[in-house]
Amino acid sequence: MGILNGIGIAIETSTLDGVPSGPAEETKFVIEVETTIGDLDFKIDVGLSAAQATAAGINFNVDWGDGSSDSGVTFDITHTYPSVDTYTIKIDGRFTMNGASMGTPNTYKIKKLKNWGTAECEMASLYRMFYKATFMTYEATDYPDVSNLYTGTGSSRTFGELFRDCEAITELDLTGWASNLGNANGFASMFFRCKNLESVNVTGWDFNVTGNINSIFREVGSLTTNGCKVIAPNVNQSNSNLFDYIFYFAKLHADTDITGWTLRAAGQRWLSTFYGTTGDYGANIDLSTWTNMKPTSLQSAFQGANSSDSSKVTINVTGMDTSICTTFQFFIKENNALTSFIGASGFTNTSSTIGIRQAFIKCKVLNISPSAPAANQFPATFWSGFGSQTVWDNAFSSFGTTTAYAPPTGFDNLDTSGGTQAKSMFSGTKFTSSPDLSSLDFSGLVAVGSAPQVRTFYAMFYLSSGITNIDARNWNFSNDAESLEYFARSSSIQTITFGSGFSANDFSGIASLKEMVRFSSVTSINWPTNADFSSVTTAQNFCSTSDVPMLTAQYDNFLTRINATNSNTGVTYSMGSCTYTGGGAVATARAAIVAAGNTIIDGGPV
């Protein structure tokens, strides 16, 4: 046991048997602070109102480490140091402080947490205690006394944001806390942005509290080389309906252990839960040992990182029950390297489901086609369960871009009947064969009416490959269809049929045919004989100059309908080398279009 010498420094003594012991065991809460030039103050802010501080029983003694001290402190207190130096502050009593309330002029001064002082310092709250103690390292080996956390505010009983933005902490072995969590009732954002954290161990912790653990490991290890080793097996979260941002942009070490988690049986929201997660474990997320995975939302749950080209490789959600999931939008978006999504074969999808927007965008190598292993396939019924989905924008953009696969089983039954917006839906999509899209239903479209590139039907199949035939005869789109600009540009599409004779498809809202089939393989476009092109203001570069995207009869019909329905002037129709029937009604119609002040480039009469 150590004793204090005359100047307050612990010195070693010897035990009776001659074996030296360590310094005296610290029994108080101890932090080290460093003052700076021009700022010699350090403020402890308890983060409570005066009345709350009284109710919480705040009453602590503080040794400032410069020879001065205060006792019986019941509220905020500021101490001014004599000079720029490093000081050790020791506190006992009933205490709390709140880094967010203290502000960075104070939290940046905290350099070390040396001891929690279990025996002498009773914590009234840990909420945000070290919030933005960005330069603080962690040396404590004991645990805080949280046996009597203040219950007067919504957050005072939580460990919420306890170490938020503590970027200098590299290791947290908190297993010693496991049996001493007192009356804590929430752990949200506890390690949020501990970016240099290389390991955190909360084995044995009881997270089954009334609060949630949202964002608990958010961004941990994101600045480390190998990621953060999160050791958190058998977490029990069976009370929380929220399961959001848990590993959002966390970089997880290969040895991460998050096996055996138990979630709320009635369901839980998975908003961005593994969004942007990286590292060796982040690349192979295996949740197959989890119980009660029953998301009410999978929005962005496994979304990749926007800037990364090597996002998650494997995701295993075997056992997940999606029967009450209301949205899948963005859920595996931008996983450029994702090859396997295991467990989707058990997915159910009901007509109440909403949200598939951008769900599969940039899943460049994901094989969910009939050729994929059964566990990696989505059930056929999955695709027909989006009847209430409104926004289909980019739903399958860049899907299979690197490696093309056959369309998924059941894809022909894609239910778009509730769709109000559908731009760029298949842009960049790559299939080995053409899916049957004849049953798509766009009767519920709503005009967007904004910038050209957000208009409905804009770039629908731009850059797609493998899709060769668009049978749109029964799409039933209304006059809220706004644009066919870029519709099939640079695609492998060969034939487009909007109508054969009379059609219910309403073209009267279509303003642009610009670049519609340019650089594509289109050789046949059937427009309905009742097509109303009254809103068209441009068909510039409809196709390349040498292309013939319409047969003569089809182009005849196009010119006839333009003349019959469009009275605009100054429109440029760049129709490549399409030819029309000369010397008759079509030639007359074409001449009338030109006479109205428009320009036509085509292959001339035949």
């Binding site: 731009y462 570069n541 040498s546 002040g597 320009t599």
Partner: protein, 108 residues
């Protein structure tokens, strides 16, 4: 009505209305190979050229902007830029500076 016949060797053109400045230009570019395509316009002024360079010089003069033609070509296809260029170019890359549209900007 003015026209460029299929056999006309002048394949480069601009169409404009009366007046000066870039607003008077309504369409410009290349109509395709001789013998394959033709152009007919209701615009009051149609001027044709044998080379793209000649067209470039002419429209830059009208627009009083030495980069006008280049901009029209390289921004062709940009949804936010109302390019008047049609056809192909042998001088500049069509759409080079047009914004990438495969991923529609959108908050997630």
């Amino acid at each position: 009505m003015a026209r460029i016949e299929k056999d006309n060797p002048n394949r480069w053109f601009y169409g404009k209305i009366e007046g000066t400045g870039e607003d008077s230009l309504k369409v410009l570019g290349y109509i395709g190979l001789q013998g394959q395509t033709e152009l007919e316009t209701g615009l009051p002024i149609l001027v044709t050229f044998f080379t793209e360079e000649e067209l470039q010089t002419a429209v830059n003069t009208i627009a009083d902007n030495p980069d006008y033609y280049k901009d029209q070509v390289e921004l062709e296809g940009d949804a936010e830029y109302d390019s008047k260029f049609t056809g192909e170019s042998g001088i500049y890359q069509v759409g080079l500076r047009a914004s990438e549209i495969i991923e529609i900007p959108e908050k997630s």
